[in-house]
Symmetry: C2
Subunit: 405 residues, 2 copies
């Protein structure tokens, strides 16, 4: 059996970053810069006022004092957005608003709070230093300097900086497109009537949601147990997706393992896959390779829903990061004291569902640790990691804990 | 000036949870259950095999041993999804796949690994206890029990549990619809040519992205400096959104404060707003109330981009949680040692941009702490909180730090 790290390394080695595209700023959210973004203009792009007040020649009010105020005529008003080139003559002032361009001649702004607020003339009762309340051109970012380096993930603040610097679009790796396929004749649509022997599909909903949470976009697909149909679907979707994820059809049962069957025999020409066992629980049967006309990376997860979800956390999330050219972001990890006991098979690393306390000091293993038991998974906020050589842990022992996203 | 907490309390007091809607499972991602979700059927809904193997009467192989194997005829194959009602006669067995319904008569499954794997007859060299490798009906969730309580936020695992239990839709509060409006004649579209006196709009991109990151959906809008136009836009959007957020137009400058102007005077009939100062930096001028024909909650943020972003983190994110009927999720908070010094105005709580080290032990204040300086915000991963009564902090002092989302 492969260690978890070996299978992860196999997945990461098989993924190349997707092609960058020029994206508008809204579409770029969650994307990753594929080239350095450089300031083509200074930011701010002109000297402007940081306050509502009056643009003055500082020397005109150098002698102003409470007992000896200086009064200057107000010759104009400059709102933000005013694109006129105006000049303050010595011995005069102009009303100016926050963000408005500093007029020629003026070398300081006096906040309105320090004046009488007059519109035709204004009274100043204290001096200000040159440059007061002026934001100088380029004091945020100088022209020609780096705004954001290649590899930056674009969130609200990064998009704001690009926008403020005049970038209407960026070269970035967008959210990877992931096609999720659940296999098995037993699957029916949630909401349809109960049929004994069949189960409602949960894996496509779960994995698509997990993909979106991890920063991808997702489409959901179902196929039955016919290898040719599954192969045709994988082939078709390979041309539309950056990553394919299947669930089910990779266990040890022979002819009923439809994903394995689809990609072996005559289907082997359409794929280059590794199927094997990974020393983990849940989720021992795993596979990875490329498949379909576009040789798209294909992650084949086991079909039990808890196995599929844990496998996605360990291998799917890193794959999505790698598709954007980033080093994988691991799930947040900490150590916490167990409040209950655990049993784990020798030779496999267990990822048991638990509830990490709000203070993160203790973690409680949930009952219902079967790989089909979604009840516990839906209540869990953490995975308790039990190492390969450990077969049991008792209350009070300290365990590694991964926070679920 | 109001303390930060007082303004947050005002916002939360003014928000009622949005109307629940019946949502399909994909649309429900990120939504919040508006009623308990109950299991209408047991999960699993029938006894099924947890392994690929053979369904047997356990008593038939009770005496099996390596030196005295028992051979049974294989009378049928039961793949997952087989809906036939079949029965295993004593002295026979059936091939069965993982997830397939346990046939009548059988009381145990023997994993294929423990047999010779025969198709016409199978050889058993060890006994199994009754119930071996059988998942019993309801062993995950019993019928009639609570699947997920009202107030549960729906992520991958919760959606999976609902799907697996046959729920095709749920009553939930979806992602709140937020309309973001930036005001000011100075705003132009990123990508358009540079015009001295004007600036490229960054706030709508930033705030829309922040809304989406916080779990809402967002639309972007811009308006100039005409109060009637702004009022008409607020009125129109109030019927389409669960929350309105403006930036700009709420400072102290009088007639140029377009948001204030729009919602006072004749506009006051269309709104019930509080405008005031909050003891924080950046972001002192704030407002909240309801506005427009639909009396939609309206959060008026200051126009400087860093002020707007910090204000959104403090007041906008909690508002989005409250719209979904949840207690606000605070930003993750910790204490870290400063690597640099800070200055902060007396009487205001500062939220300074910093970089929290990967080990979270230290935090480095960034240069460029002006409320217009996006360069530092785009590099920051944390806000350093400087209390109202503190005017300076030195390297080595320990500060409260909020992690940015």
């Amino acid at each position: 059996m492969d260690p978890v790290e070996a299978h992860l390394a196999r997945v990461l080695a098989g993924i190349r970053p997707i092609e960058p595209a020029r994206l508008g700023l809204e579409a770029a959210q969650g994307g990753v810069l594929a080239a350095d973004a450089v300031a083509t203009t200074p930011l701010p792009s002109f000297d402007n006022s940081s306050m509502d007040g009056y643009a003055v020649h500082a020397s005109d009010i150098a002698a102003a004092a409470a007992e000896a105020p200086v009064t200057l005529p107000v010759t104009d008003q400059i709102p933000a957005g005013d694109i006129r080139a105006v000049t303050v003559a010595p011995g005069t002032c102009m009303r100016i608003m926050t963000g408005a361009m500093i007029p020629g001649g003026a070398d300081a702004v006096v906040p309105v709070e320090w004046t009488d607020g007059g519109n035709r003339q204004a009274r100043f009762s204290r001096p200000v230093p040159k440059g007061n309340s002026i934001r100088l051109i380029g004091d945020d970012v100088a022209a020609g300097t780096l705004l954001l380096p290649e590899g930056t993930r674009l969130g609200p603040a990064q998009l704001a900086l690009l926008a403020a610097s005049g970038h209407g679009s960026v070269l970035a790796r967008a959210a990877p497109r992931v096609a999720v396929i659940a296999t098995g004749n037993e699957l029916s649509e949630p909401g349809s009537p109960l049929v004994p022997g069949r189960i409602w599909d949960s894996n496509t909903y779960m994995l698509a949601a997990a993909v979106r949470q991890a920063g991808g976009t997702a489409t959901r697909h179902r196929a039955g147990d016919d290898p040719e149909t599954v192969l045709a679907l994988i082939d078709e979707l390979s041309a539309q997706a950056d990553l394919l994820i299947t669930s089910g059809g990779v266990s040890m049962g022979g002819e009923h393992d439809v994903v394995k069957a689809a990609l072996s025999g005559s289907g082997a020409a359409m794929a280059d896959m590794h199927f094997g066992k990974v020393a983990m629980q849940p989720g021992m049967p795993q596979g990875f390779g490329v498949a379909g006309r576009a040789r798209t990376p294909l992650l084949t997860l086991p079909g039990n829903p808890v196995s599929a979800y844990v496998s996605f956390c360990l291998f799917g999330r890193p794959a999505i990061d790698a598709l954007q050219g980033l080093a994988p972001r691991p799930l947040p990890s900490r150590r916490a004291e167990l409040t209950g006991s655990l049993r784990s098979p020798a030779g496999r690393r267990s990822f048991m569902r638990g509830i990490l306390a709000p203070d993160a000091a203790t973690v409680t293993p949930l009952t219902g640790q079967g790989s089909h038991q979604l009840g516990a998974l839906a209540r869990a906020n953490a995975l308790i990691v039990v190492p390969e050589h450990v077969t049991g842990m008792e209350p009070g022992e300290v365990a590694d804990v991964l926070s679920l996203p």
